[in-house]
């Protein structure tokens, strides 16, 4: 019990963040994280726990692809909620800020979605502090290709994001005119 407690304390937040960034849905991320730790509980003790946890989380993301249709409906519902929240906030002066923030998030989302699965997973795992061997083990890559994968993933993410922002700025000007 103590072991899972420690594991949870140490890795729950990173795993949730990894999943949330990957899925764009915090609730779902929490859910999959819970499943990850439930599985960990059944497998204790783990030899390479961080790598194990992220590998399981990564596999759960894949499984989640099967529940595609249902998830889309769920997303729609949540997005509806979010836009309602937004409507209320529009009454305040922070409207503009909030909208910018949301737009940036949408761009970030688009950019991360535009990466290949392997690039995306490698980048997100690296952001959670996994080392090259752990990333390689989780994704079934050779450790030697992780560096290339990461540099490509980052470059592409930033390029797409910045292009989106530029595009928005250009469009914004057009809208005003």
């Amino acid at each position: 019990m103590d072991d899972i407690d420690r594991l949870f304390r140490e890795y729950h937040q990173p795993v949730v963040r990894y999943l949330a960034r990957r899925l764009g849905d915090r609730d779902l991320a929490e859910e999959l994280a819970q499943e990850t730790f439930l599985r960990a509980m059944r497998h204790l003790p783990l030899t390479n726990e961080r790598s194990w946890l992220f590998a399981v989380a990564t596999n759960l993301i894949r499984d989640e692809g099967r529940r595609e249709t249902r998830r889309r409906r769920h997303l729609e519902a949540l997005r509806h909620d979010a836009s309602q929240t937004l409507t209320i906030e529009h009454e305040s002066v922070r409207q503009e800020q909030r909208r910018d923030q949301l737009r940036e998030q949408a761009f970030a989302r688009s950019a991360i979605d535009a990466l290949g699965e392997k690039d995306r997973a490698a980048l997100l795992l690296r952001e959670e502090g996994l080392d090259y061997n752990e990333i390689a083990a989780t994704l079934g890559l050779s450790a030697g290709s992780v560096g290339t994968t990461l540099s490509r993933a980052r470059r592409r993410l930033v390029d797409i994001y910045e292009t989106l922002v530029r595009e928005r700025d250009a469009q914004g000007g057009a809208d005003v005119a």
Partner: protein
């Protein structure tokens, strides 16, 4: 995909380009510190003397920081979901600019994923990936021996470019794929990856375009279905294998492609079937108020599965009324029964049969005049203790019988608690031991004992405006745990709640209010309330603050004395903010990001929510963070205000792209622009004192090491008090008891704030501060003279030389004067204290205010949690009932929340 164990000899090798430089991947590996020492040194040596590589390294660093920042933006989404609107249109343009050919007319009006063309494109790209992989194998393109989809896709990428771009049906969707891939996830990923790779590589396909186009036509109907339903990775693998068996020559044959498609479609059809074995079912939904349709937070949800003797699963709805509860081992077609409980609402029950992996149960609840959940509770207890207690007496203390003004409640509760059986107390202790594995550290608190007035006539302590213990206790209870006794600081629980106290008169910054009533847990004792209310002052004249907190959320901050302490410190500060003050939060770790844009001090809830969301994780890269922080400060620069970046870190401040020297120059230049830097160091072990001090000095700022919340208060509240509104410094209270009226007394709480009698008048002795609008409540439990046998006093010989004051009371002291309150405080900026006094007269008549009764209920609750030897007849139930009867107007709903919280604790302890 399998999880490979790494072998120890799997070391990383530097890859050199033909031009004699390490390739980009190797540079990245070096930057990520993944090489062993020898290889690392080799790269370092090369980069040191190579301008080309230095340039490349700078670029990589830039991309690394920017990527982290972009990803960080995803962590704070309203409703937890990042919207994808607004970008489909723009996504088209990206690819155009990135060099991909695209058609001008984008049909952006229609959602991307509803367009069959996209699906075909995805399928096509997948297929082409498979086919060209086969081809590339025969032409010696490096492919890992592990026949995985990823490796196949990689090798196939160059060849795929042409079809993805050229096939007319595929063109537009492929372009949009970047923005949209998330929904049609892994399959689309494969397509997208191809498309992306094509931007960088020269198309070298040998596939006839016409064949591909035709294949697309054949595939269209099935592909559309497949994208939605298939298990894409597995499929891709199978499809690859399937095509593998075909000869490269046949690949160009549309019929072969069509066959591959048909195979995939068949697999797609079979993929989503559900295995008829026990599985995990997720129950989720939203709970709303039946009449207002507003979401209800804090609803207790309990799920039981038919035909299963597994314990009930439980959760609580979020503030937006949503819940999600995974239940494992549910047999197919089992039915799940969900009970919804919330104080103030009628119990609602929903029973559903499990049809899929997710069960959505939205529930409305109707308000009840009686708090039904609690009546149920009481009834169950009645059964348990029937032998000892006639049920009729029990009913007297149920809400039904309770006067909402709260009169007479105390008596009822006092009766109620006699029923507490020793067995129940033991249960509590057991529950408490369960959380022994918890790593949180709390100093041991020993309850203040009763002191005999003849020996100890005075009680002296420093005020404490902290309230952190309450939220901590609440956290435990919301997780279904009983808080550990030492986490319960009763004064912090009491002070959490706002009370309606008179504002100070004249020049005094603080008013004193006193009141007496019967101690609810010991009817022979009196309870005295001493409440201080600080002036609510006009603050318009004070300079506004523009604060940007730059918070290290790297993995090393994930310790109780680091990020959690940063968060509670920030909360202290937030309490002090005024509407004209602005605060922003920037975090850095692997990610540097704006967690909270500059926000007015008026919107405390929003700031507090952002603070609550801070989490530790990732590696440290401070460079991007500090630049972002300064930029944020600059954007909201207040010309006459206090513009300041406050860095909170454990010292592991890695400056990323720039050197320490660059960092110092940056800080200096910002200081010249009027933005200062304060550094707060947290934690132990990783703390880099010298570096912090150096940086802070450059920023015209101070730096401080924060090891506990008292230090945080000192730094953030007191020393930054020039701009944050403290109205009284070093506030001390001293109460002198009248031996003619009081035999003994006990201060409830403030155990670690006690002062020696002589410290009261010693202005050098530090004490708590009060900010504008703060209130502080202290409760004394008093044993009147003539009352014996209620407590065991550690009697001492009375003083030999001191004339007992009972024999010679001051002429001015009334006989029924219980005690005399003295308060000393300093006006901020002054060195000597002023004093305020007030006598407390106990008439023993009249009813106590709801504020007082509520505070007493909180104290009783705290004593029960602490299992205090002085708790007398107090129980959770008696505290609950007293609190419910003393909610008053309850502005902000804090008291109702408290009532709900005790209810939950009672429920969870019963389980």
């Amino acid at each position: 995909m399998s999880h490979n164990e790494m072998t120890p000899d799997d070391t990383l090798q530097i890859v050199w380009t033909d031009a004699g430089h390490p390739d980009e991947g190797s540079l990245q590996t070096w930057l990520d510190d993944a090489f062993d020492a020898a290889s690392g040194a080799q790269v370092q040596a090369h980069v040191g003397g190579c301008v080309v590589c230095q340039q490349a390294v700078a670029t990589l660093r830039g991309y690394t920081a920017a990527a982290s920042r972009i990803l960080g933006a995803l962590d704070d989404a309203p409703g937890g979901v990042v919207a994808r609107e607004d970008t489909a249109k723009a996504a088209a343009a990206i690819v155009a600019q990135a060099g991909m050919r695209t058609r001008a007319e984008q049909k952006a009006a229609k959602a991307w994923y509803t367009r069959p063309a996209f699906r075909v494109a995805a399928a096509l790209a997948l297929m082409a990936g498979g086919t060209t992989w086969v081809m590339s194998r025969s032409t010696e393109v490096a492919v890992s021996t592990d026949v995985s989809t990823a490796a196949g896709a990689d090798a196939a990428a160059p060849a795929v470019a042409a079809p993805a771009v050229a096939a007319p049906a595929a063109e537009a969707p492929a372009v949009q794929a970047p923005a949209l891939a998330a929904t049609a996830q892994p399959l689309a990923d494969v397509a997208t990856e191809k498309a992306n790779v094509s931007t960088a590589t020269t198309p070298s396909t040998t596939l006839p375009m016409a064949a591909i186009a035709k294949a697309a036509d054949v595939a269209a109907p099935v592909a559309a279905e497949m994208v939605v339903a298939a298990e894409p990775m597995a499929q891709a693998r199978k499809a690859t294998a399937r095509i593998d068996s075909a000869s490269p020559a046949n690949v160009s044959d549309p019929m072969v492609s069509g066959r591959a498609m048909a195979t995939m479609a068949a697999m797609a059809a079979s993929a989503p079937t559900v295995a008829p074995s026990p599985r995990t079912v997720i129950v989720r939904g939203t709970v709303r108020d039946g009449s207002t349709q507003r979401p209800i937070g804090g609803v207790q949800i309990q799920a039981t599965v038919s035909g299963s003797n597994a314990p009930a699963r439980a959760t609580v709805t979020s503030t937006s009324g949503t819940y999600s509860l995974p239940i494992s081992g549910v047999a197919p077609n089992a039915s799940i029964r969900i009970a919804f409980r919330r104080i103030g609402y009628t119990l609602a029950v929903a029973t559903r049969t499990v049809a899929s992996d997710t069960l959505v149960i939205d529930q409305t609840m109707t308000t009840s005049v009686l708090a039904l959940g609690e009546v149920v509770t009481a009834a169950q207890d009645a059964r348990r203790e029937k032998a000892a207690v006639p049920p009729t007496r029990l009913l007297a203390s149920t809400p039904a019988a309770q006067d909402f003004s709260g009169r007479g409640v105390a008596g009822g509760i006092a009766r109620g608690v006699e029923r507490t059986s020793p067995a129940r107390i033991n249960t509590r202790n057991d529950a408490r031991r369960d959380i022994g594995g918890n790593r949180e550290q709390y100093d041991k608190i020993d309850d203040n004992p009763f002191l005999v007035v003849s020996v100890n006539p005075r009680s002296t302590f420093s005020v404490d405006v902290d309230r952190a213990s309450y939220s901590n206790v609440r956290r435990f209870i919301s997780q279904g745990q009983t808080p550990p006794p030492d986490a319960v600081r009763i004064e912090e629980l009491i002070n959490y709640f706002p009370y309606d106290l008179p504002s100070p008169r004249g020049n005094a910054p603080v008013s004193i209010t006193t009141e007496t009533m019967t101690a609810p847990w010991q009817p022979k004792h009196r309870l005295v309330r001493v409440a201080l209310q600080a002036r609510r002052i006009e603050t318009a004249a004070l300079p506004p603050s523009n604060l940007v907190f730059l918070i290290d959320v790297s993995g090393s901050m994930n310790q109780w004395d680091k990020l959690p302490l940063v968060k509670s410190s920030l909360r202290l500060l937030v309490d002090q903010l005024r509407p004209q003050d602005h605060v922003a939060l920037v975090v850095y770790a692997g990610a540097a990001g704006l967690v909270l844009p500059s926000t007015s001090g008026e919107e405390k809830a929003m700031i507090a929510a952002a603070i609550d969301r801070l989490e530790a994780g990732g590696s440290t890269a401070g460079g991007a963070g500090i630049e972002l922080a300064y930029r944020t400060a600059r954007e909201h620069f207040k010309p006459n205000g206090n513009n300041r970046v406050i860095l909170a870190t454990d010292g592991d401040f890695n400056v990323g792209a720039s050197s320490d020297g660059d960092m110092e120059r940056l800080i200096e230049s910002k200081r010249a622009e009027g933005t200062y830097l304060t550094i707060l160091g947290f934690g132990e072990g990783n703390y880099q004192d010298a570096k912090m001090e150096k940086l802070a000095k450059r920023g015209n700022g101070n730096y401080a090491y924060v090891d506990d919340i008292a230090e945080a208060r000192k730094v953030l509240v007191k020393e930054m008090g020039a701009t944050l509104v403290t109205v009284a410094n070093d506030v001390k209270l001293q109460v002198e008891f009248n031996p003619a009226a009081v035999r003994a007394f006990r201060l409830i709480g403030y155990e670690d704030r006690l002062l020696a009698t002589e410290d009261f008048t010693d202005d050098k002795k530090d004490a708590g501060d009060m900010g504008a609008g703060h209130s502080v409540t202290a409760l004394y439990e008093v044993v009147p003279t003539g009352v014996t046998s209620t407590i065991t006093l550690r009697e001492q010989d009375s003083l030999r030389y001191q004339v007992p004051s009972a024999d010679a009371p001051r002429a001015s002291a009334a006989r029924n004067e219980l005690m005399f309150v003295r308060m000393r405080y300093k006006t901020p900026g002054e060195g000597t204290s002023k004093q305020l006094t007030q006598a407390v007269i106990d008439t023993g008549r009249g009813s106590a205010s709801s504020d007082f009764r509520f505070a007493a209920s909180v104290a009783a609750f705290g004593m029960v949690l602490r299992n205090s030897e002085h708790k007398g007849t107090a129980t959770l139930r008696s505290a609950l009932e007293m609190a419910r009867g003393a909610r008053g107007e309850d502005e902000g709903g804090y008291r109702s929340e408290f009532v709900g919280m005790i209810g939950r604790l009672i429920d969870s302890e019963r389980r």
